[in-house]
């Protein structure tokens, strides 16, 4: 297994090394300067076409682009405008797709420069594009050449000051970069501008300077150009005879180098020169030579095809731009939708959290309400349990009291009765005394029972009292049929009046005592008990038609004093009115 990995690694390494070697070879070939090469254009064409294929084989984009560019240059020298434009466009496409901006900027500039004689507007457009790209990226290796070429356009448009400005800018960068191959271009361009401005000596100086460097670097085509340019200066200066040798020197080199475009131009200049020298035969001869070249180079068909290629390229650029914008729109749309999804998701989460919060709050509130109710019931239960226990405790104490003391008192009564019986032979006074003690004890035991009962009973309602009184009257009636008992009851706003247990008992005992007295002592025929209840007041009257008695004469019986005492105990007014044979009226009334 290890061996396999090693072999695979070695294989990949070798592949990588081979690829790197191939790339280096392609770059070296692409770096050949067409204008400096000693090779003929046909040979150069083959070399660059093979180089293109090699780059395409390994899909080396930069190599492909540079190869296209070099092929365009060669076709340019061959004055094949159609192929020059086609290859330039191919190269630009490759450079732009692969983000090779310096190369693209350079090629825009060169393409525009190549169009300067056919379509100045287009030339300016492409050159501006290249210049802008180069300035944005500060590609000095592109700027030096492009400034120079742009200056040429300005010069062709007669804007010599602008031309000089751009030439100097270009020269500055070339000198800064120490780019020897670029110096002749700058010098030649400056020379041309000075020549047009009439500074012929300066112009010629710069041309010679350019030629010297070109001879050093063996730029044959450049040397040919310089000879033509020097000849042009003499021509403009009005020295046509001195121009001719230079034009001929240029033609010699251009022919050898197959630089057809220069040949066409130089023929034209020669024709013009001989025209100035009024040698019409020679002028015509050279003009015909020029015409032949012009027709083949600038045919209408070629112009149309170049235009069509440009349109195709521009269309492709615009379609790419549209696609790019559509992609951007789609991305923005996706972004917006994602944001919406995020917002909706957040909103949904907020709703859930809000609902959760509300439900928790609601549940807590409900719990609190329930706890409140429970607490209230707990308190009520505690109260009622306490009340119940207290009452039960009281009742048990009362019961004990009744059982113990009550029975003891009863024992005393029984004992006294026995004693009375045992002492039947003693004097009457002793018997009476014992009977009195026995009666007193009986009263005491009854009082105790009433008290014990009242301890446990909090209130007696008026209705209850009325019922007890009524029962008493009925019992009295049933025991004494000879007496007419009446019970009259009147009520008004009954609900407000309640008697305490002690109070109720006392009222009852007063009535009981009064009736008993009326039966025992008054020998009454009619006994009437009236009870009037109104709001929180009461008035009870017991009247009889008996014998009556003198209230002032003699001592008042215990019965009346008991009634008085009971009335005082319940804070009521007690009145008794009686006179002999005129009956008795006893009233008890609650105080105001």
């Amino acid at each position: 297994m290890k061996h396999c990995y090693c072999w695979a690694f070695a294989f990949l390494l070798s592949v990588y090394a081979l690829s790197a070697q191939e790339i280096q070879k392609i770059d070296s070939i692409n770096a050949i300067l067409v204008q400096n090469s000693s090779l003929k254009t046909d040979s150069l064409l083959v070399i660059f076409e093979n180089n293109l294929k090699a780059a395409q084989k390994i899909d080396y984009k930069k190599g492909i682009g540079e190869a296209y560019k070099n092929l365009a240059t060669i076709y340019g020298y061959e004055a094949n405008g159609e192929k020059r434009v086609a290859y330039n466009l191919k190269a630009i496409r490759i450079f732009e797709e692969n983000d090779l901006k310096p190369q693209a900027a350079n090629l825009y500039g060169e393409m525009g420069y190549g169009m300067k004689r056919d379509n100045m507007e287009k030339a300016q457009y492409y050159m501006n594009k290249g210049l802008k790209m180069a300035e944005e990226g500060n590609y000095k290796e592109v700027l030096d050449r492009t400034y120079n070429n742009y200056g040429v356009l300005k010069e062709m448009q007669g804007q010599l000051d602008s031309a000089l400005y751009f030439y100097k800018k270009g020269l500055a960068i070339v000198e800064e970069r120490k780019y020897t191959e670029g110096l002749p271009y700058s010098y030649s361009n400056l020379a041309g501008a000075y020549g047009q401005m009439g500074n012929f000596d300066l112009a010629r100086d710069y041309f010679y300077k350019a030629k010297v460097i070109r001879e050093e670097i063996n730029d044959r085509k450049g040397i040919a150009e310089n000879f033509t340019q020097i000849g042009e200066v003499y021509l403009i200066e009005g020295k046509p005879a001195e121009a001719v040798p230079f034009f001929e020197k240029s033609l010699l080199i251009a022919r050898k180098e197959d630089y057809r475009f220069l040949m066409q131009y130089t023929y034209q200049q020669l024709s013009e020169t001989f025209k100035q020298m009024q040698q019409t035969d020679s002028a015509l001869y050279y003009f015909e030579k020029y015409a032949v070249f012009k027709d083949s180079i600038n045919s209408l068909e070629t112009t149309k095809q170049i235009a069509a290629l440009e349109v195709e390229f521009e269309t492709e650029q615009k379609e790419n731009e549209i696609l790019r914008q559509r992609t951007q729109l789609a991305e923005k749309d996706l972004e917006v939708r994602r944001k919406n999804a995020y917002i909706f998701g957040s909103l949904g989460l907020s709703i859930i959290l809000g609902l959760l919060g509300y439900l928790i709050y609601s549940r807590q509130k409900q719990k609190n309400r329930q706890l409140q109710k429970e607490k209230e019931l707990q308190v009520a239960l505690a109260k009622i349990e306490t009340q119940n226990r207290l009452e039960e405790q009281r009742l048990r104490i009362s019961r004990d009291l009744h059982d113990n003391i009550g029975s003891q008192l009863t024992f005393i009564i029984i004992s006294l009765d026995n004693l009375n019986y045992m002492l039947k032979d003693t004097g009457q006074e002793v018997k009476e005394r014992i009977a009195a003690i026995s009666a007193f004890t009986s009263v005491t035991i009854n009082e105790l029972r009433d008290t014990v009962w009242a301890m446990n009973k909090e209130v007696i309602t008026v209705k209850d009292l009325q019922m007890r009184i009524s029962n008493f009257i009925d019992q009295a009636q049933s025991s004494r049929r000879d007496v007419d008992f009446q019970f009259k009851y009147k009520e008004k706003h009954l609900q407000k009046l309640e008697f305490s247990a002690v109070g109720g008992i006392n009222v009852y005992r007063i009535i009981q005592e009064a009736v008993n007295n009326a039966l025992k002592y008054a020998e009454a025929q009619t006994i009437c008990v009236k009870m009037e209840i109104s709001d929180s007041k009461y008035k009870i009257v017991i009247l009889d038609d008996g014998r009556g008695f003198d209230i002032n004469g003699g001592k008042s019986g215990h019965g009346i004093s008991n009634m008085q005492k009971r009335a005082n105990d319940i804070d009521a007014d007690f009145k008794i009115s009686t006179s002999v044979n005129k009956g008795t009226t006893i009233s008890i009334q609650s105080k105001a």
Partner: protein, 84 residues
Amino acid sequence: MIWIETEFAVITGSVVLALAFVVLYFQVVKIQDSKKARSRLIRFEHSIQFNQSQIIKRKNHLDRYNFLAYNLDEALIIQPEIVV
């Protein structure tokens, strides 16, 4: 586009489902709480009623007291189940 529409549907569906679950859960919890609270309240009410019945029983016995008969034995009836 379809994927994005599905995404919205999923989000909305999830939110609705979550809401339904939360509401259902709290409803169940509320019912359980109410049941427990009610049973406690009922116990309290039963206790109160029992105590009230004892108080009423005591009162009824006390009301049997005849002022003429002095029948305390009938009026004072102890309820031994009451722990004092």
